[in-house]
Structure formats: structure tokens, C-alpha cells
């Protein structure tokens, strides 16, 4: 089986998968949850008409009120209370009391102030940036003794391209879900993206490790060595992903409402991570290598 020879097909598949999400990201962005925007979410048990709930909420001066029904006979009431922070809790208690006659009882409540949401957003971006940087450094370090013709840097950079592929795929999918299905991203989503990044690199390293080993033992074209390495690790890549995906699928189906989208993000990302480590990261090493052969460095 020649996987490397068909690398242009694999790159095309990746582009087809990622581009719609990226377009959605540019056009619609992500639907940010209260962790990032500030506001409150009250989960209530019981059924009441959305207009009644909205009327109660408006009476207290709440803004941006949205009500979504969950599968288990509960509803999520989202709102933003423009009152000063000292009064928000009082309004919350009043709202709770107002909803009781409608037959609604509070199951959970969450409120995030604007100052907190700013620090969460900052930490989320910082965490992703620092994690990516730390991983490139680690790969360059772990592969510092890689035999020629590949440089430690090319291992690091291609791993990061595969990582970005997975991160953007997940973010793109959630941008589309956000626009068309109202799915919000919260701090758990950031956790999911970071985990996907970690897993993507984890998977890529296993293949790279085999390439490094084979470069020492096998003679022949670089392309063939890479191709053999992918094939030799294929059973492992698929089996590992399968076990992780199976556990995640169990969590997705039976794990309860509150981590539903968190698990979905992991599912999508880890599937993408498996694809990218087989079909993107290692073929990119070959593309990089061939490019350097065709364009030798000119001496200054």
C-alpha cells in the first residue's frame, strides 16, 4: 500500500473538512458561553411556556434572555443582569421565587461576572499558545538526534501543522454547530481543544518515532521509509484511536447532559487527530523533504 504516493488526496480531504468550518469561523465566529461573555444560566426542572419565563425575567430588568429546552424535561434560561454585581444575587433569588408558581424549580445556577470572564478568555488563549509552544520545544528536543535527511525542526513543525489541523477542525465544527444549532463554547471546550492537541501530538509522535527508528535501520528512498513506518504503526494507530473513541462514545451516549458537548468536541478532535497523524504529519515530512531537494539552499 502506498499511502505517501497519494498524499495529495489526503491533503485535499483535510482541506475539504476544514474549510467549511473556517469559513463559518470567519463569518459567524463562535457562540461564546457565559464563561467568556459574563451572564447567568439557570437550569430549571418543569415545563412552562417560554413567553411566561421571558416575561418574569424582563420584569427584573434582565437582558439577552434565551430559553432552550433540554432533552430531559429541563430548560436552560440564559440571561444577563445589567445591575451592579452587589444586586445580582438578590435578583437571582427574586427570579427563582417568581418561577416557583409556574411550577419551575432550580436545578443548577451559574453566573459569571464580566471581570471573571475576561480573565478566563485571557487564560484560555494563553494556555493554548503556551501548550503548543511547549510541545514544539519538546518534540524538537526528543528528536534532536534524528538521523538525516530530516531535521528535528521539521518533525516539530509538521507535528504542529497536524495539531493546528485538529484544533481548527474542532473549532470549525463548533462554529458551525454554534451558528446552526446554538451550541455554545465554554471553558470546558477550551479543555477539550487542549486535550485534542495533546492527543494529536501523542499520536503523531508514535509514527515519528517509528520513522526515526527506520531511518537508522533501513536503506532506501525517504518516501519509502516514511511509508513503511506509517504502515507498520497503522494497526496501533487505528486500535488505539478505536479504544479511545469507544470510551468517549460511551461517555457521549450515557454520560449525562452537562458534558455532552465537551465529549463531542473530544470525539471530533480525536478522530481528526488520528487522521492527521497518519495522513498529514508524516506525508508533510516527505513534502518538506522533496521541497528542499528541489530548492537547495543558495549560498549567500
Amino acid at each position: 500500500m502506498n499511502l505517501i504516493g497519494k498524499r495529495k488526496i489526503w491533503y485535499t480531504i483535510s482541506l475539504v473538512a476544514i474549510v467549511p468550518g473556517l469559513i463559518s469561523l470567519v463569518l459567524f465566529g463562535l457562540k461564546l458561553g457565559i464563561d467568556f461573555t459574563g451572564g447567568s444560566i439557570m437550569e430549571v426542572q418543569g415545563s412552562a411556556s417560554a413567553t411566561d419565563i421571558t416575561a418574569m425575567a424582563s420584569k427584573l430588568g434582565f437582558q439577552d434572555i434565551t430559553i432552550t429546552n433540554e432533552a430531559n424535561g429541563r430548560s436552560l434560561v440564559r440571561y444577563r443582569d445589567p445591575a451592579p454585581t452587589s444586586e445580582i444575587e438578590g435578583h437571582h433569588q427574586e427570579f427563582k421565587a417568581d418561577l416557583a408558581p409556574l411550577g419551575l424549580s432550580e436545578v443548577s445556577f451559574e453566573t459569571v461576572g464580566p471581570s471573571v470572564s475576561h480573565s478566563i478568555t485571557r487564560n484560555a488563549i494563553l494556555a493554548i499558545a503556551v501548550a503548543s509552544f511547549a510541545i514544539v520545544c519538546y518534540i524538537a528536543f526528543a528528536f534532536r538526534n534524528a538521523p538525516p535527511p530530516v531535521s528535528p525542526l521539521s518533525f516539530g513543525v509538521t507535528a504542529i501543522i497536524a495539531l493546528l489541523h485538529d484544533a481548527f477542525f474542532v473549532i470549525g465544527v463548533f462554529s458551525i454547530l454554534g451558528h446552526f444549532a446554538g451550541v455554545e463554547v465554554d471553558s470546558l471546550f477550551v479543555t477539550a481543544v487542549l486535550t485534542v492537541i495533546g492527543f494529536s501530538v501523542h499520536d503523531t509522535i508514535v509514527v515519528f518515532d517509528r520513522i526515526r527508528e527506520n531511518l537508522r535501520r533501513q536503506r532506501g528512498e525517504f518516501e519509502d521509509v516514511v511509508n513503511n513506518s506509517i504502515l507498520e504503526t497503522l494497526a496501533r494507530s487505528i486500535n488505539t484511536s478505536l479504544t479511545v473513541l469507544l470510551t468517549l462514545l460511551a461517555l457521549f451516549l450515557f454520560g449525562g447532559e452537562s458534558i455532552h458537548y465537551f465529549v463531542l468536541a473530544l470525539l471530533v478532535g480525536i478522530a481528526s487527530g488520528t487522521y492527521s497523524s497518519i495522513f498529514n504529519a508524516s506525508p508533510l515530512l516527505v513534502t518538506w523533504h522533496n521541497y528542499k531537494l528541489k530548492h537547495p539552499k543558495k549560498k549567500a
Partner: protein
């Protein structure tokens, strides 16, 4: 150490951790004569129900050099107030330079606690001139009070708050004040808690020189108790406001635990089934290692309660744990695939097992280190986001324990298995090799 000794040690480790991980391990241990208190995995607020509150302190009026001490006394006062509710396992901790996180298990207490925490609770005694209505601050405050108790007035039966002032200067100043008010017909004594008038203005029938005062307002027993609690805990050194809260009802928490448990068991079952079908005898090894892994992890969760680093299991933490099961299997898969390759190359079972481990080790090490880096960064950036922190801790711990079970447990078990004749039959590994095994 011989393989036999290692096998025995692993059997002991597996057995002990299985017993300790068992949910009702105390009754189990009791039967064989061990008495000890029940061990429990500490559950986060999202699982047991409760409130997570984040308060922002307003430090703008505090000199920058005094801010650290203002924050630590703030944490103390809030701790005192929350503890006065008698709720167990409440945690109060400082986050960042100006925030305080309060976590209270049990929702009914949470509403009460919120009412108690937010108040500045500065007690002040003032002198009121009845003719001019002029109010003069007396300088006597809550910090002059030694203790406060909710009580009943012996004659009227009305709820009151009894105060005992600190002996020495505070008692003397209060004595002077009451003497002065007693002697001047126009003066009245009043007491405020923040902006609320809780006593007076009233005349003083006789000077109080023993430092014992009674506040009799028109309050009920509950209010009297709350006032006493607030005075005892002391006033907040700086004003605070609630900037974030998360309340989870106990039913939702129990539901989450049930769902996660089901998901975990199904996930573990499906993975075990897959490993058994695909890797046969090696699959048995992997599943045994996986069971030891799960039991060991739960045991560590339980035992961590005895250390300062108690692991608090949250919903995201469970997800991290279940994800780590998948990753724990990965190390086994890497090893088995390598071993099969070596067998196909015609190596003997003994050298195939050893080579399988040696060759797979660099992949296992490098890939797990990258996951640990992610966990470490998640942990570092999530001091105020407990859900993320819980996830990072369980995933990271899972990676470390799975390295141990893959490298020590799986390897030793495999070495033990190939000592038997059955264990050296390639068919038992899903391999069809030409010719029989040597």
C-alpha cells in the same frame, strides 16, 4: 527480582487496591478483622451538589503594602462566618491577588451562607442627641467585642443579642460612654450593623461597667443568631462582591454520578471486549492490567484524602479518568503490536516480549510526556476554574499510573504467561505463523 516474585507482588498490589477501591470497603475489611473508618473518593460540588462562589475584594482603598494582609484577614473572617453555619468540608481560599473562592457543599446551606458572607458587618455604637438628632460616632466598634451570643430576654422573652466586651480598655470606654449617656438626659445610645439600626436609640438606665451589653431590637431568633455570628466572625476588612457563582442541586449531582458510572463501566467493558477479541491471550493480560489500573487509580483517589493534596473528583475529572483508560490501553497496544512484529520476524517468544517492550518504550515515553505537558499547562492556567483543574489532575495522574501498569504490570504478566506452554502458542495471539513454536 525474579518474574515469580514480581508476579506475587503484583497479585498482592492488585488484591489490596481492588479491596480498597471497592465502594463499601469498610464492611469488606471488617469481615476479615480490620476496623477502620470508611474511605471515600472526595466528590466535587458538581457531583454532590453545592455552591461555588467567587468574591472580588475591592482593594482600592488599601495601601499596596497592606493588601496581602488585608486579603489573609478577609479569608479568615469569611472562614469564621462560613464555619459558624456548621457545614462540613467548606473550603475558603484566596485566588489570585484579590479574589476569594468559597465552596460550600449542600445547596440549602449555600443560600444562607451567601447572605452571611457578603455583609461587611461593621458593628458601631453611636451617641444620638434626642433634641438635635445629631449622631456622634463613639469609636466603639465590633473589634471591641469579645463575644456575642443570641439569647432571650429573661423578662420579655424576646430574642436578644448579648455582647461581652473585651476586658480592659474596651470595657472602660464603654463604661465611660454609658455613664455619660446615663447622666445626660438628652443623650441616647444606638447600635448599627453596617447601615442597619439594630438597637436603640434608647436611654441608658444605669452605667454599664462590667462590659456586658444587651442588644434588644425587634428581631426574631434567626436574625439574632445571624447578628451574633457576624459579630463573632468580625467585620470584613474590605468590601467584597460576588462575581461568579455556580450552584448545582443535589439531584443533578447524583444524576451525573450515575450517568458517569454507567458510561465508565460500558466504556471499560467495550474496550476490554475489543482487546480480548483482537489480541486474545495478550488481551487477557491487557484487561488484567486495566483492572489493576482502575483499582489502583480509585485507591489513590481515596487515599489522597489523607494528604494535603486531596483529589476532588468532578464531572470533568471523571471524563479525564475515562479518557486515561483509553490512553492506558494505548501503551499495551503499542507493546503487543511490536511483539507481534518480532514474532513474525521469527524471534522466540522470550526475545519478542523483551524486544516488544524495549522498542515500544520510546514511543510510549515521548507520547505520554506530551500529554503530561498539556496537563501541566491546563493545571497552571486553571487556578480559578475548578472544572478544568479537576480534568488536568485526573488525566495527568492517569497517564502516570498507566505508565506504571503498562511497563511493570503488563510486562511481568506477559513474561509469566510465556513461561507456560499454552502461552507460547502463536494462535493465542491472533497470529498465524508458518511452522510451530520452538
Amino acid at each position: 527480582m525474579s518474574t515469580r516474585t514480581k508476579l506475587i507482588l503484583i497479585a498482592i498490589l492488585g488484591l489490596v487496591s481492588l479491596v480498597l477501591a471497592y465502594p463499601k470497603e469498610d464492611t469488606l475489611l471488617h469481615k476479615i478483622g480490620f476496623k477502620h473508618s470508611h474511605l471515600q473518593v472526595r466528590e466535587g460540588l458538581d457531583l454532590q451538589g453545592g455552591a461555588h462562589l467567587v468574591y472580588q475584594a475591592d482593594l482600592s482603598k488599601i495601601a499596596s503594602g497592606d493588601r496581602a494582609s488585608a486579603m489573609s484577614s478577609l479569608v479568615n473572617v469569611i472562614t469564621n462566618r462560613v464555619n459558624s453555619l456548621g457545614t462540613s468540608e467548606t473550603t475558603v481560599q484566596q485566588a489570585g491577588s484579590s479574589q476569594v473562592i468559597v465552596e460550600i457543599p449542600g445547596v440549602s446551606d449555600a443560600t444562607q451562607a451567601q447572605a452571611l458572607i457578603g455583609k461587611t458587618a461593621q458593628l458601631s455604637f453611636v451617641e444620638v442627641d434626642a433634641t438635635t438628632n445629631q449622631v456622634t460616632d463613639t469609636g466603639i466598634t465590633g473589634s471591641d467585642v469579645k463575644s456575642a451570643t443570641a439569647d432571650f430576654d429573661p423578662t420579655s422573652g424576646q430574642p436578644i443579642v448579648s455582647l461581652q466586651l473585651k476586658s480592659g480598655d474596651a470595657t472602660k470606654r464603654f463604661g465611660d460612654l454609658t455613664t455619660q449617656i446615663n447622666q445626660n438626659q438628652n443623650l441616647r445610645l444606638a447600635t448599627y450593623l453596617d447601615q442597619d439600626l439594630i438597637f436603640g436609640p434608647a436611654t441608658v438606665s444605669s452605667p454599664i461597667t462590667n462590659g456586658q451589653a444587651q442588644l434588644s431590637g425587634n428581631f426574631d431568633v434567626k436574625t439574632a443568631k445571624q447578628i451574633a455570628q457576624l459579630i463573632n466572625a468580625g467585620a470584613l476588612p474590605v468590601p467584597i462582591s460576588l462575581v461568579e457563582q455556580q450552584t448545582v442541586g443535589p439531584t443533578l449531582g447524583a444524576e451525573s454520578v450515575r450517568h458517569s458510572l454507567v458510561a465508565g463501566i460500558i466504556g471499560l467493558g467495550v474496550v476490554a471486549l475489543f482487546m480480548l477479541i483482537y489480541y486474545r491471550l495478550a488481551g487477557v493480560v491487557a484487561v488484567t492490567a486495566l483492572i489493576i489500573y482502575t483499582a489502583l487509580t480509585l485507591t489513590i483517589y481515596k487515599l489522597s484524602a489523607f494528604t494535603p493534596y486531596t483529589i476532588v473528583l468532578t464531572l470533568a475529572g471523571i471524563a479525564g479518568f475515562i479518557l486515561s483508560i483509553g490512553m492506558a490501553v494505548d501503551a499495551n497496544i503499542l507493546i503487543f503490536e511490536r511483539m507481534k512484529e518480532e514474532l513474525r520476524d521469527g524471534k522466540s517468544f522470550v526475545s519478542a516480549v523483551e524486544a516488544g517492550f524495549d522498542r515500544a518504550w520510546s514511543s510510549i515515553r515521548d507520547s505520554n510526556i506530551s500529554t503530561l505537558i498539556t496537563c501541566f499547562i491546563l493545571y497552571t492556567f486553571s487556578s480559578s476554574i475548578p472544572i478544568i483543574r479537576g480534568f488536568a489532575v485526573t488525566l495527568g495522574l492517569g497517564v502516570v499510573i498507566s505508565l506504571f501498569t503498562a511497563v511493570v504490570v503488563s510486562r511481568t504478566l506477559l513474561r509469566g504467561v510465556i513461561m507456560t506452554k499454552l502461552g507460547r502458542n502463536p494462535k493465542w495471539y491472533g497470529l498465524n505463523l508458518p511452522g510451530e513454536d520452538a
